[in-house]
Symmetry: C2
Amino acid sequence: MSLNPNASIEITAFRWVPEFAQGLVRDLRARWALEEAGLDYRVRLLDQERPPEYLLEQPFDQVPCFSDGKIKIFETGAIVQYVGEQSEALLPRDPQGKYRAIQWTYAALNSVEPAFINLLLIDRFFTNEEWAKLRRPGAVDFAKLKLKRVSEWLGDKEWLEGRFTIGDLVMTTTLRFLRHTDLVAEIPNLAAYLKRAEDRPAFKQALSDQVASYAANQPQEEGVAA
Amino acid sequence: MSLNPNASIEITAFRWVPEFAQGLVRDLRARWALEEAGLDYRVRLLDQERPPEYLLEQPFDQVPCFSDGKIKIFETGAIVQYVGEQSEALLPRDPQGKYRAIQWTYAALNSVEPAFINLLLIDRFFTNEEWAKLRRPGAVDFAKLKLKRVSEWLGDKEWLEGRFTIGDLVMTTTLRFLRHTDLVAEIPNLAAYLKRAEDRPAFKQALSDQVASYAANQPQEEGVAA
């Protein structure tokens, strides 16, 4: 358990989000990295309506932000990489191993995630829009192509580059954006890869701490939760 | 001029691409970073039909790949960061300056680029699809929101964090994905920011070298170019 109100590391997270987003919000990646590295951290919880001045910390109005007294940054890719620099459990020290891991972090966020988020938005936000109904088959095909590429690379390896790194942390949390579909389950080596990641004690702790906050801050009125 | 057939650094690029993609293909980012760092490089040109074994180098079948005898990686974010580690002109040395730059590199690729690529695909690939016509206004609004966020952060600063870094290199090449629209031109501080970037000698050299290859390898048949 690395949650510690007196920790020097602080991340931002949401006090509460609707159920479809619980376990997907990106502070999960920062929490998981911190757990893998064995670093204590505290959480600054934000309401869904962020104060306008939050844009000075996070120009895209998202979570998480990260600070540790030495640096203050946003973007989960940068945060997990920074945490990785402090723990060989997340980021190898040799240049090739280090940059292969960083490469997969970028690949997950730029070459894979947009296809999955696109499908998630179609299925969760734009469900009743005519364009979404027309576009969905193509969006599924595009997500499937990305999954095929990752699956073929992974083959029978345990992790993308043999050993667990920040690249796997970001890639597997990216695969979770498809949890409302069977697309990952349909590809045995990817399903097993995701399960290996989600079985890690550090992941379980991170997820449990994220959803504990939502459970404690569940809105009282039905209307707000809808 | 840093193109050098005997250089130890090699990147991959396309021999030729259709005109709408010329000046947008992502090896431009690697070339620009190498020019800023003053590093010689050579280019391995690929046909539009890549051999199947290229997937072993680049699992998403994209360009560029990068190798220098020490490491071998793909993904432009990772490549510009690695080149940045070798040149303070691209990446500050103090931890805060370094990670603010890395954060903007991730932000450009994950929080901004997907919205622009989405609009580019709607306008260039899916133009005649019914869903694309219905979706376009919403896609424009989403791209505008991203531009507003970057514009508000930039304010009257010259670069995102005051001085030029890999974050600006990746963000401004991301803005170029909207060059078929007036969306950037409509926001004076972003238009000036993009112009500052494109006026850098290293950018001009990189762009000129990229398109020189396309000009030299223009397909003979009209049908192929269409």
